[in-house]
Subunit: 275 residues, 2 copies
């Protein structure tokens, strides 16, 4: 990966309250190259999963049947790089800071631009992301580490919970972890349950072993969490489940955003339903 950062790189603070389009332009111009947490607060950030058309209907049913992990925000027409509902002036090939390319279920490359990869049979799925509700959590004073410390980022784990299969797709549910201060647990469940397009309520609270995570330090994606005394572990279904499906099944080709490097949409989080 060649870092083509222009001289005018931006800070996270500068993009926190920026319009989604401003963030996308900063990404496109190489002025933002890292994860998108706290950017364009109040707008949906999306997981992106690009598949050849012959797998698209199976994957769309997989999303529909597993809406906690893969709540659909938008699906492009084959060959169209524009997510016309979620961001009609965007280009999915250049507006994400970093992409992962999976072939036959293996991560084979990370790239910063998809223009050389894009084909007329490619379909892009945009699905919801927890980072979308950071503004809601900030407003409510929920001190999640990734919100209060620049170097923190939620950790993700492959759980032993299983997705409902669809066509060729099956996978464990990937979960993202946040430590919740005991006295805030009910509030966090209540708040997050209101946002089903951003994974909704936790799918597990309490002992991580119950969902097949013996050691929180051994993350599958993201950064290993610090110990947080006085907190209860809470887990939300996570969009990385798509990438887990690629590796579980050995999908011939899947291109995704790199974990944490999301596509910033124009969809306001405050509008709880689509359409």
């Amino acid at each position: 990966v060649t870092a083509s950062v222009s001289s005018a790189a931006l800070t996270r603070a500068e993009l926190e309250h920026a319009a989604p389009r401003t963030v996308r332009m900063a990404v496109r111009e190489g002025r933002w190259t890292t994860n998108t947490k706290r950017l364009a607060l109040g707008f949906h950030q999306a997981n992106v999963t690009i598949l050849p058309k012959h797998l698209a209907f199976d994957f769309m049913r997989f999303c529909q049947r597993n809406p906690r992990a893969l709540p659909i925000l938008d699906v492009t027409d084959p060959g169209d790089p524009v997510p016309r509902i979620a961001a009609p002036d965007a280009d999915i090939r250049v507006d994400i800071p970093s992409y992962c390319i999976y072939r036959d279920g293996k991560l084979v490359d990370r790239v910063r631009d998809l223009r050389d990869q894009w084909r007329s049979d490619h379909v892009a799925f945009l699905t919801g992301c927890n980072l979308s509700i950071d503004q809601v959590l900030l407003d409510a004073g929920i001190p999640f580490p990734h919100l209060v410390r620049e170097d923190a980022f939620p950790a993700q784990y492959r759980s032993t919970l299983m997705c409902r299969p669809a066509g060729v797709f099956h996978s464990p549910v990937v979960v993202s972890y946040r430590p919740v201060p005991e006295l805030l647990l009910l509030r966090v469940i209540e708040l997050t349950s209101r946002f089903p397009l951003s994974h909704g309520a936790p799918i597990h609270v309490g002992d991580p072993v119950r969902i097949g995570i013996p050691d929180l330090a051994k993350v599958d994606w993201g950064r290993a969490p610090d110990e947080e005394p006085g907190t209860i572990p809470a887990f939300w279904a996570c969009g990385i489940t798509a990438q887990s499906a690629a590796t579980t099944v050995g999908i011939c080709e899947m291109i995704t955003h790199a974990p944490g490097h999301m596509f910033v949409t124009d969809l306001p989080v405050s509008d709880r339903t689509l359409g």
Copy 2:
């Protein structure tokens, strides 16, 4: 259509508070053959659209982009007649009182059983329906004609509002009409907006001419409404939009429920989101 009503035909009152499975069995056994309004109150009733697999991904995007008209409840695997999320012990080929068969965009037959029609490439889409929230409206004392008079049924019209297209599918939005007593209008909007899987809030309130309906007496589906002094016309997006798309586009094959003759699912309306 041969009416194969068994001797033990049931009354609407007997099935109002029945379990969804009981209603489906009554349909399957020919003991319920007419529209499903007020049956299994509190559970989602679904529009059903059956298409050959080669049209399924286009249609699923059409639903996704037009969630007011076509909110997806479940999509079956090709060839599988069981809607495994919405009603895992049901059979979509025999559990609907009446089916419409469209070929090349024309309604060519109405049948009571799909076992002779069903193929291994058929995919069934279940989408939400206004009738699903009749219990909510009854509890709130909203006196819609179809709820208080046995012979009344909502009227539907092809509007001049347009769906977002997807692949081969495009269509005007079909709307269903209800006359709302003036003093209840805000309450009705508030109540219905809470149920996006059942078409949510009205998409138009007031003069029908504004959405291309010059004469409420000339219905496209359902029954012509009586004049209702002191009411305001309200229109909701309607699942018949799928059938309108079949005729607008000239779709080679589409099989649907007959309007008003819905598939009764096991999904409780009180659970506002899927998954």
